[in-house]
């Protein structure tokens, strides 16, 4: 349980969350009162009018216009308010402020990637400045996904044939969960990212560092980092356990058999091809499900990943 939130809602971290919660609470309170009346009357009538002696004829009342109008009109008014408040807030959630920065988000089985106007690309990590409206332009590479950040109270489906848009303005620094909310297959529940809300200066530093990432590290160290941040770990283990893809343990120098019956020794070129064109050679026993990383990784990052895989293997040449 999120201990910073209420019983029903996780803590609200966006400018819209307070308003959404107000609508939620309005319905919760009005609904609870109606529920209490209904259950109270069930119990009261059940006790008061339980049969105490032999069955007999009972009252024939079957209509009461005033009563029936009352229980029609009051709920109509209440739900009209629920409709109105819900719609009003929804409009605010739909209209992107003019001063928003735009980040492109792509959903694919089974990770998120984010492209910043500054040229930075991240996987499963959306870093944004606090108190700044952010427009997220969404699209999918394969099936429908859904971009859901509970703490911001936003959700928008991510479609393969058109762009959809959502926006938020975080007013609380911190780290928040990003879920895929539209069922998308085997690793649907692993399609979980983070939204990191930082101060404007931290954001600028982060952008700077990201474009020069990996400096001061050995390629293998940098590769180990990328293994997590590019979400290779969703499908490829490093301890030999089977996943949706072959484990990276001892992968380098190994002879792989492919689905079409051919085979090859895993070398640098094979690994590079498998990252950029994963459908070309499918290892026997696995499905053709890996998306291409074309455009998501730079050459330098591929080098680092290969260096990292070598450290996981006995045979390193």
């Amino acid at each position: 349980m999120d201990t910073t939130g209420t019983l029903f809602m996780p803590s609200g971290a966006s400018t819209i969350s307070g308003e959404v919660d107000a609508v939620f609470n309005f319905i919760l309170i009005a609904g609870s009162i109606i529920f209490a009346i209904v259950v109270g009357l069930i119990i009261f009538f059940s006790v008061r009018y339980r049969r105490r002696d032999k069955p007999g004829l009972t009252s024939g009342i079957s209509h009461n216009l005033k009563l029936e109008l009352t229980w029609t009109i009051i709920p109509v008014i209440l739900v009209f308010f629920a409709f109105y408040f819900g719609f009003k807030t929804y409009l605010k959630m739909s209209i992107v402020p003019g001063n928003a920065i735009e980040i492109k988000a792509t959903g694919q089985k089974w990770f998120w990637s984010f492209d910043y106007p500054e040229g930075v690309t991240t996987v499963n990590e959306l870093v944004v400045p606090v108190d700044q409206p952010v427009k997220v332009l969404l699209s999918s590479q394969d099936v429908i996904h859904s971009f859901f950040v509970p703490n911001f109270r936003i959700k928008m489906d991510v479609l393969p044939n058109r762009y959809t848009v959502t926006w938020f303005e975080a007013h609380q620094k911190g780290e928040y969960n990003l879920f895929c909310a539209e069922y998308c297959g085997t690793e649907h529940s692993e399609m979980v990212g983070k939204v990191r809300v930082v101060s404007e200066s931290e954001y600028q530093n982060w952008l700077e560092e990201s474009s020069t990432a990996g400096e001061g590290m050995t390629p293998a160290e940098y590769g180990a980092k990328l293994y997590i941040s590019k979400s290779c770990n969703t499908c490829h283990s490093i301890d030999g356990t089977a996943g949706n893809g072959p484990s990276f343990k001892n992968i380098f120098g190994k002879t792989e058999k492919f689905a079409d019956g051919s085979q090859a020794v895993v070398d640098e070129n094979y690994l590079r091809e498998s990252i950029l064109e994963p459908a070309n050679k499918i290892v026997a026993g696995y499905q053709n499900i890996m998306p291409t990383y074309q455009g998501l990784v730079k050459d330098r990052e591929i080098d680092a990943l290969i260096a990292y895989m070598k450290t996981l293997s006995n045979e390193q040449q």
Binding site: F24, I27, T72, V79, G86, I154, L159, G185, H188, S189
Partner: protein
């Protein structure tokens, strides 16, 4: 003492073939009952497996692919094989003709055909479990369902075939209600269960074809690579959602309206009181049936549909809620100045009032746009849906089953066991599903095999509840089965009820009545007529 020798529909003919090819609506009702009970048991076992797997994060008893297939099958089996046919095809088939004083439905052969089609469609659906299983969710959303490598075709073909069984039943009921009512039984003297079935039948006939066409388009796309829904072939995946929900939203009213009809009967009989607001209840069923066609877009508030569309669908969604609220208030007022007894059917009716009210009120959170954006596709929706479908329809079904069991088999079940099971079901259900409201509003997405640690306590709690719930249903199955063969004879009218079916022997003769029924009073005239119970009141 414990034998029933009067000629009746059960002992009229012998042999399995006399059942499988019967034209008697009562026997067809029993055949349907066996079919849906098998489906309910299968769906229930799948549900227990789901809750077992979710007791901890990560893998407990199955891997992710298996889990995805299990929740898909749970949904598809429960919706298409159990809950849609449950009340209309089993209880409705058995009792609709008797309640209107007819000897059978209008088209007995069509009725038999619908059962065979039901079996055929079910076999296709269950076959998909062997043919690689389906992992799309019961909603079959494209383009996932056009891409996934599993047996989507056999499952959707099964659902397509099942649709015809539903259409045949609906068509049969409409004609039967129009043409075969006993002399003097005018529309406003019909039992409200009949009104509920009538409203249901309208939706079955008008909406089911749309589902059929949608699934055929999906199959064509998969087989012939015609681009309809898959953007890779030039199709539009959101189009599928429009088509699917154009059927499947009215379909939830196919599932609940007959249940509401049963509740009207139960509340009046066990409060021993004239139903309050007869016409309001009858017309609200029709109102629900018609408005239900205009609200499908509320399943798509975050699908990228326009804000204008979202606004209109949200507004209409609130409208469709009002008639349901009116019904609840009418039932409640029927209790006022009654002479209430609390036999098992009434316990289920009161459970229905309690749970369905929660189900209805939580629908408001989902109908309101701003809150739906947050709650959509979370466990909140799962909880809401189960409160309406299990807390609503299944409670009504269980109530109806206990109410009419002594009529169907002529024998009474053990009341103590029945009350105990009803209590287990009520408590277990609330533990299982109320927790899911909180899980959902806290952000837990649905259809997740694995989840973050913060959700674990509530998931575990929900799983414990499912054991109580499952035990309750198991006990109910056992004593009901036992009672059908060994229970004490119940007599014609164990509840002192006033509708036609209680004037004929239990079990009824093949022709339904020993002599032509004569309308002597209206179905809820507890202010004018007192009928002795034929089974001792406890």
């Amino acid at each position: 003492m414990n034998t029933i020798e009067s000629p009746n529909y059960m002992n009229a003919k012998k042999g399995i073939l006399s059942w499988l090819f019967t034209l008697d609506h009562k026997r067809i009702g029993i055949l349907y009952l066996i079919g849906i009970m098998a489906a309910f048991a299968l769906g229930g076992i799948l549900a227990m497996l789901i809750r077992m797997e979710l007791i901890h994060p990560g893998q407990d008893i199955m891997d992710a692919d298996t889990y995805n297939q299990v929740f898909t099958l749970h949904g598809a089996v429960m919706i298409f094989l159990f809950i849609i046919p449950s009340i209309p095809a089993a209880l409705g088939n058995f009792f609709l003709p008797i309640m209107i004083g007819a000897r059978d439905v209008a088209f007995p052969k069509l009725n038999l055909a619908s059962w065979w089609i039901f079996i055929g469609g079910s076999l296709f659906a269950v076959f998909s479990m062997y043919a690689g299983a389906v992992d799309t969710g019961w909603t079959f959303y494209t383009p996932y369902s056009t891409k996934t490598g599993t047996a989507v075709i056999s499952m959707t073909l099964g659902v397509f075939i099942l649709g015809f069984s539903s259409i045949f039943t609906g068509l049969n009921f409409i004609v039967t209600i129009h043409k075969l009512r006993a002399p003097g039984l005018t529309w406003y003297k019909l039992p409200l269960f009949v009104w509920g079935l009538y409203a249901t039948a309208i939706i079955q006939v008008l909406a089911t074809p749309v589902l059929g066409m949608t699934l055929i388009l999906l199959i064509l796309e998969r087989v012939f690579q015609i681009g309809i829904f898959d953007p890779a072939m030039g199709g539009d995946p959101v189009l599928f959602q429009h088509f699917f929900w154009f059927y499947s939203h009215p379909a939830v009213y196919i599932m609940i309206l007959p249940g509401m009809g049963i509740i009207s009967e139960l509340i009046s009989v066990f409060a021993h009181k004239k139903i309050f607001g007869y016409k309001a209840i009858a017309y609200s069923s029709l109102a629900i049936a018609f408005i239900s066609f205009l609200v499908w877009g509320h399943h798509m508030f975050v699908s990228g549909q326009s804000e204008i569309a979202a606004m209109i669908f949200s507004f209409l969604t609130f409208l469709v809620g009002i008639p349901s609220g009116i019904k609840v208030f009418n039932w409640l007022t029927t209790l006022y100045k009654g002479s209430i007894t609390f036999e098992t059917p009434m316990l289920y009716a009161l459970s229905f009032l309690f749970l369905f009210t929660i189900g209805g009120l939580t629908g408001i959170f989902l109908g309101a746009l701003a809150t739906d954006v947050h709650l959509h596709d979370t466990y909140f929706v799962v909880a809401h849906f189960h409160y309406v479908m299990v807390g609503g329809t299944v409670m009504a079904f269980m109530g109806g089953l206990h109410y009419w069991w002594p009529k169907m088999f002529g024998r009474m079940y053990n009341e103590k066991w029945a009350k105990f099971a009803a209590l287990l079901i009520f408590v277990g259900f609330n533990i299982t599903f109320f927790t899911q409201f909180i899980l959902g509003s806290q952000g837990m997405p649905r259809r997740y095999y694995n989840y973050l640690d913060q959700y674990q306590p509530l998931h575990a709690f929900s799983s414990y509840g499912s054991w109580i719930l499952g035990l309750g249903f198991l006990i109910a199955f056992i004593y009901l089965f036992y009672a059908a063969f060994k229970g004490r004879p119940a007599g014609r009218n164990p509840w002192g009820a006033l509708t036609f079916e209680w004037e004929t022997p239990s079990p009824p003769p093949t022709e339904n009545f020993d002599k032509d029924p004569v309308l002597r009073h209206e179905p809820y005239d507890y202010d004018k007529v007192l009928v002795e119970r034929t089974y001792p009141e406890k």
